[in-house]
Symmetry: C2
Subunit: 593 residues, 2 copies
């Protein structure tokens, strides 16, 4: 397995320099979150992730979880690491003080979360899944529900889950069948089977709090008849609830995380929020959950990059086409070869660009949560809504690409489990599927967000990009980047307009273009963050610095991204503008003979 080293300097660069954390935290009133404090947290988190979690990553893959008569045992060391995690107070870092949290902004939690995710994604899902449960209860629970559940979840003594998917439905929740019938005491009897419940059962915490989607008797059909319930494994009175883990899945990856079939057999549950408003309630924090999944793409890119870089410096094969670079050795280290560099730089560009995108999204979450300015709040929320499907789908798609580059840099050795490179491919593959597949995110972006707002949500973002380009058009270093970005930024609007016109003739055009549109938008968006990083690096160089190599590396990587990766927009554009007809022409029964 690649030895994970938390990229603290990289994180500081984005957080403090590109995004100006000090101003941000001041503006939202998080005066505790000083640069020094954040750096101290990062240092501690890095230590825990590098020393405790990273060594368990391969163990988790190899051992997996085991199921025995409803009891799930996590891989060796997972439980002990979780204990340490709780004892060190990490779960409560970015939770409200009224429930025992440390009250730091969400975005600081994200910084720690990136480290956890990269060091050991499967482990990180156990505490990670609690967020959905905490958010639900905090936003929609009664005072009593908050009192009973929140402090235990905040401390990490208990963990949480989200129970949405059923065997016949995942994305299409309107058809879900789980039932909730009122008991005499005002609680509900929940009955049904839920699948793909991450961290649904495990041995790491004394209680597990399930948030369950189910239908009340006589509820309207479809998505408007779904209610939310909290169903704890152990009831407040200490008795065991009638919820059982029926089995765990054997998966391509994330073996260390238990993906559970959960059987609710008249389990006692408590309604959260108004009846039949369950999906609406959930949507209020869906963006946060999706950003959490987007993180997996960044984590995979980073981890695979770290592994591939070390190997590329060490492994000797062939001579450079322009003459030996290490004549004293039997062959040159493969990092001299342009194609190996192409793969490494692609990984690096995705990891660092993706980090910038997600850290910015984290700041937007902060504003939505903590800002006192309603107008600013609304704006941040809209921008976040627009960026979320891009971050989720684009970053996970390129995360799989990056992980595959890592395997490729290792040659045949990349295919061998021992090296840990192929595990990253397997682990990351789920990120394109859960929390809404790439196709679902793409429909959300093009259909719900962009076209349904008449392009308004896109315009808000392209305006930001436009302003950035304008401000830097005379900057010699940035000029080539900014010109290319400005051109694409304009084209983005034009392409969207054309798609909107087509969609008015034929609604299928939206579905036919969606994924190409999402990837197209993703490459431009990432280009914007790379241009911002280049701008910041140039500023630092102009101001004088003893870290010139660091800043120059940023500019060089930005140049690489613009020259070798960003041209991918062109193919996506051509494909989507060619329309949906060739997708719909073939009759269902003529796909095969």
């Amino acid at each position: 397995m690649p030895e994970y080293k938390a990229p603290i300097r990289e994180m500081q660069f984005v957080l403090h320099e590109v995004l100006d954390s000090e101003s941000h935290f001041q503006a939202i009133g998080a005066t505790d979150a000083s640069r020094d404090m954040i750096d101290a947290i990062m240092g501690e988190a890095a230590k825990f992730c590098e020393e405790v979690l990273a060594p368990l990553n391969q163990v988790g893959d190899k051992e997996g979880c085991t199921w025995n008569d409803g009891v799930v045992t996590t891989p060796t060391g997972f439980k002990e690491a979780y204990q340490q995690w709780v004892e060190n107070g990490w779960p409560s870092l970015a939770q409200p003080t009224e429930f025992g949290g440390q009250g730091l902004p969400e975005s600081i939690g994200n910084v720690v979360s990136e480290m956890v995710s990269t060091a050991n994604w499967s482990w990180g899902m156990y505490p990670g899944l609690s967020h959905g449960a905490m958010n639900t209860i905090e936003l929609h629970g009664t005072d009593e529900q908050k009192e009973v559940y929140l402090s235990k979840l905040v401390s990490g003594e208990w963990t949480g889950t989200m129970c949405l998917t059923e065997p016949h439905c995942g994305s299409d929740l309107g058809t879900l069948k789980s039932k909730a019938e009122e008991n005499d005491d005002g609680s509900y009897a929940i009955t049904g089977t839920k699948i793909f419940i991450s961290a649904g059962e495990h041995d790491m915490a004394e209680n597990i709090v399930h948030i369950v989607l189910a239908r009340l008797p006589g509820a309207p059909e479809g998505t408007k008849g779904i209610s939310l319930f909290v169903v704890p494994k152990i009831l407040p009175d200490g008795t065991r609830n009638a919820v059982e883990c029926g089995s765990i899945e054997h998966k391509m990856g994330i073996h260390g995380n238990a993906t559970c079939v959960m059987n609710f057999d008249s389990a006692k549950g408590f309604l959260i929020g108004p009846p039949n408003q369950g999906l609406k309630c959930m949507f209020t924090f869906m963006n946060f959950a999706r950003l959490g999944t987007a993180m997996q793409g960044v984590a995979s890119s980073e981890l695979s990059f770290q592994g591939a870089l070390a190997y590329a410096k060490d492994r000797l094969a062939m001579r450079s086409l322009s003459g030996p670079k290490a004549p004293e050795k039997v062959a040159d280290p493969i990092i001299v070869h342009p194609d190996v560099r192409r793969m490494l730089l692609t990984q690096k560009a995705f990891a660092e660009g993706g980090r910038a995108m997600l850290m910015h999204a984290g700041f937007l979450v902060d504003i939505v949560k903590y800002s006192a300015d309603d107008e600013q709040k609304k704006e941040a929320d809209e921008l976040l809504s627009f960026l979320t499907p891009i971050a989720k789908a684009f970053l996970t798609e390129v995360g799989t690409e990056a992980a595959n580059h890592g395997v490729q840099v290792f040659g045949g050795h990349g295919y061998i489990q021992e090296w840990g490179m192929e595990q990253i491919v397997r682990d990351n593959r789920i990120s394109q599927l859960y929390e809404g597949t790439t196709g679902i995110q793409a429909l959300d972006l093009l259909g719900r967000k962009v076209l349904m707002s008449q392009g308004e949500m896109l315009k808000k973002f392209t305006k930001i990009v436009h302003k950035f380009c304008k401000a830097n058009e005379d900057n010699a270093t940035l000029k080539p980047l900014v010109e290319q970005l400005a051109k694409l930024n304009k084209e983005w609007g034009d392409v969207t307009m054309q798609l909107g016109m087509k969609a008015m003739q034929n609604r299928e055009e939206v579905g036919g273009a969606a994924v190409d549109y999402l990837m197209y938008s993703g490459y431009i968006t990432l280009g914007y963050y790379w241009a911002r990083m280049a701008e910041q690096a140039q500023k630092a160089l102009d101001a004088g610095t003893d870290e010139a190599d660091f800043y120059n590396a940023k500019i060089k990587t930005a140049n690489f991204y613009f020259q070798r990766i960003l041209p991918r927009t062109e193919s996506h554009k051509l494909a989507m503008l060619n329309g949906v007809d060739s997708l719909m022409d073939l009759e269902e029964e003529h796909f095969a003979f």
Copy 2:
């Protein structure tokens, strides 16, 4: 696991109609290979592959091979299936009659091989690896060596391997270290460790014939000091040779095939071909081996397509954007959704286009092997040399893409091992690595083949494409395809010229452009085969047919490929023409801080 159904009608279409098998086999004097006979062979092979091999595919993945003190046990059923395979005479199908073969052309063997490969790639590697050994001995062995080894390999009683890779070197064979020292009896004592030896040890055959690369004492350094040896596990006198399987690898996929570390400890070997000419001897059939690997890309695309198509017709989710298509059901089958169709059609386009490319390559192999016309032979050989790296790298790259689409169509279920879709991704991933990585193939194409021939090898192919386009420019159905293809075909030459000029300034440009160039070339090449299939389909429709649906599906899939996939050339072109500078600018020590 998808239930494999051999696509016999598809194969017949390419073989008999597009490539006109009858004329081809007549021309090379293979008068036995009538259409009826080929169809009969296909029918029998399909039965064996569907009924015997396919059911073992998932078993192989789950059980894997086990190693115990040098003895390797293959998964349940593998050995019995191999026995049947041998009893039915399949190994000898396309082998020379003088060694007990049935004397059918190589290309017929390939048709069977596609079915085996798709039904169960891991199993197919055991007989598949024998080809390299047979080719080596047939082309370079002494009469005695042929007598001892060939008939047993042809019958399938023994299997063979190719032992090239060592722990420190794969692609860069010049640095290999295994030693061969002459014994008193004229044989050699071979000492060294070989890794990644597919089918290096197993329980399916009574003997295993290793072809080993090693150095004679005092041999020149580098690739010009490597010799070839045949090293049987059991020596002709019945004694056990000093070659042992030290361990087997734990891999991402192809678990059913044993990937062995082979330790040669003064093992007795016999020189094949002239001393120090081993690599040259191997290159004479390297193209065949690489085409064998290319097949994995087609097999994965086909198998994943079959699985995804069945699921997409069955699984219900959401309603079509243009109104319910199955109003009687709770939701529409997902095949109504354009994005699901995009993924299915992409798989279909890669599988069927790739099949046409490989079957054509198979015919070229036939000509090289059997034609009496030296000029024709030379031409076929050159064309084959040009197509081989494209087929190997491009088809395996898109094979992984296709397999990933298959997972994606299944949504979260695609990640679960039980469905067998993720296995295809894991199994196929090796195809981009072994027999020369994509990067190595790309250097072979752009560097060795195209630029070193001053573009001559490319010109020969673009001339064929040009002629095809000319001949069809007035064909109403083909017009849009032919126009696009002709334009790209011309551009291909221009782009190559530009790269050639750049490379004269800086040799690194070759490495910097190579993979983009390969993918660019691959998409155009596949476009040519799709255009040929559309041409043939239109001819059949014009002539009148009761299979109009079948032929129309070909034209519709061609249209899809040209409209939605072929535009990918544009991005590859832009990226490679942007040059190598942004790849080389970043100093090795500044990739990370």
